[in-house]
C-alpha cells in the first residue's frame, strides 16, 4: 500500500535524511524506532505529504504521490496524529468539524455524526469553549 524508494530530505540546517526503501502492507502496523534527531518526524512528514523531499518516489494507494499528482487528495485520505496536537480557537464542535469543513462538508448531519463518534454529549457540551486535549 505504501512504497517508498530513494527518499532524500534535507533542511537548510544541514540535517538530511536518506531512506533507500520502505514498504508498508495493507493492515500492517509499522513502527519506526530511533534515537532523537534520527529523522523519524522528517520521514513521517515526507510520507504524509507535508514536506517536499529533495528526491525519491512514493507510491500511496497505488498512486504516485511525489510525482505531481493530486497531493491534496492523497493528503486528505490520510490521518496524522501529532505528538503535540493543537486545537484551533473555537468550540469543541468547531474543532471536530474543521476537517469536514476543509473538505467542503458543512452539513450538520456530518458534524453530528463526527461528534457522536467522540460521545461529546456525554462528557460535555459541543458548544463548550473550555477544552483541553488529552492524548492517551
Amino acid at each position: 500500500m505504501i512504497r517508498l524508494r530513494g527518499l532524500k530530505v534535507s533542511y537548510d540546517t544541514g540535517f538530511s535524511l536518506a531512506v533507500d526503501s520502505l514498504d508498508v502492507r495493507r493492515g500492517e502496523i509499522f513502527a519506526v524506532i530511533g534515537p532523537n534527531g534520527a529523522g523519524k518526524t522528517t520521514l513521517l512528514g515526507a510520507m504524509a505529504l507535508l514536506d517536499e523531499p529533495a528526491a525519491g518516489s512514493l507510491s500511496l494507494l497505488g498512486r504516485d504521490a511525489f510525482g505531481g499528482g493530486d497531493r491534496l487528495e492523497l493528503r486528505r485520505a490520510m490521518s496524522v496524529v501529532f505528538s503535540q496536537p493543537y486545537l484551533t480557537a473555537g468550540t469543541v464542535a468547531e474543532n471536530v468539524a474543521l476537517p469536514l469543513r476543509l473538505r467542503g462538508r458543512r452539513d450538520p448531519a456530518a458534524v453530528e455524526a463526527a461528534l457522536a463518534l467522540f460521545r461529546v454529549g456525554q462528557i460535555g457540551r459541543a458548544s463548550c469553549r473550555e477544552r483541553v486535549l488529552v492524548t492517551v
Binding site: 504524509a48 507535508l50 486528505r76 496524522v80 496536537p85 493543537y86 474543521l98 473538505r103
Partner: protein, 233 residues
C-alpha cells in the same frame, strides 16, 4: 493665552452647531482613509501570509524590504504618486491627480507595507507545527492560512486599526496628491494646515479636535480589543 481659550471656545461652538464644512471634510477624510485601508488589507493580508508561509530564495531579503517600506515617509509616497499621476506622467491618462482616487492610491501605498509587514510578523508567530497540523487535517495551503488568520484575528484587527489610524493622521501625501481643493480633496489634516496658516484658529482648532477625537476612537477600539484578547484566551 487668551486667544487660545477664545479659539477653543469658538471651535467648540463650530462643532456643536454642526458646521457643515467641518463635517463634510471629516466625511471625506474617513472615506479616503477607510477605502485605502480596505484595499491595503485586501492586498496586504494575502500577500503577507503567502510570504510568511512559503519557502523561497531571498525570503529574508524580501521581508527586510517590506519592513523598510513601513518606514516610507508618507510625503515621499505622495511625491512619487504625484509624478506618476501628472498629465505628463506615465499614469496621466487616469486623471486621478487632485482627486480623491489619487489620494486613496497614495494612502494605499503608505498602508500596504504596514499591513503586509504586520501580517508577516503575525503569521510567523504561528507555530509551524500548528500550520502543518491543519494541512494534515486536509487543508489546502490557503485554507490553512485562513485558519491561522482566524487564530490571529485579534492581532490582525489591531494591525488594521493601527494602519487606519496612521492614514487618517497623514498630511503630506494627501496635500501633494490632493491639492486641498475645497469640497473635493480637502481633508481634516490639510484643512488644519490651511486654516492655521490663514490665522483662522477657531476653525483650525475645531478641525484639530475632530481629528483628535477620531484618533482617540481608533485607540480606544485598539485597547478594548487587546483587553478582550486577554480575557477571552
Amino acid at each position: 493665552m487668551e486667544f487660545i481659550i477664545e479659539g477653543f471656545r469658538k471651535a467648540l461652538g463650530l462643532i456643536l452647531s454642526g458646521n457643515p464644512e467641518i463635517f463634510s471634510i471629516a466625511r471625506l477624510s474617513l472615506t479616503v482613509s477607510l477605502l485605502a485601508t480596505a484595499v491595503a488589507v485586501l492586498i496586504g493580508v494575502p500577500l503577507g501570509s503567502w510570504i510568511a508561509v512559503k519557502k523561497f530564495p531571498l525570503k529574508k531579503l524580501l521581508i527586510a524590504l517590506v519592513n523598510t517600506g513601513m518606514g516610507l515617509p508618507p510625503v515621499v509616497a505622495g511625491l512619487v504618486v504625484m509624478l506618476f499621476l501628472a498629465r505628463s506622467g506615465p499614469l496621466g491618462i487616469l486623471n486621478w491627480l487632485y482627486t480623491p482616487k489619487g489620494m486613496i492610491l497614495a494612502q494605499v501605498i503608505i498602508a500596504l507595507p504596514i499591513i503586509t509587514a504586520l501580517t508577516i510578523s503575525a503569521m510567523q508567530g504561528v507555530d509551524r507545527r500548528f500550520y502543518r497540523q491543519v494541512l494534515a487535517l486536509g487543508a489546502t495551503e490557503w485554507q490553512a492560512i485562513l485558519v491561522c488568520l482566524r487564530e490571529l484575528r485579534l492581532t490582525m484587527l489591531a494591525a488594521v486599526i493601527a494602519g487606519f489610524g496612521r492614514l487618517v493622521a497623514e498630511v503630506g501625501a494627501v496635500m501633494i496628491v490632493g491639492g486641498n481643493i475645497r469640497h473635493q480633496t480637502r481633508m481634516l489634516t490639510t484643512a488644519t494646515v490651511m486654516e492655521t496658516q490663514m490665522g483662522n484658529f477657531d476653525m483650525a482648532i475645531a478641525i484639530g479636535l475632530v481629528l483628535l477625537a477620531l484618533g482617540f476612537a481608533v485607540n480606544l477600539a485598539l485597547t478594548l480589543i487587546q483587553q478582550n484578547r486577554v480575557v477571552a484566551r
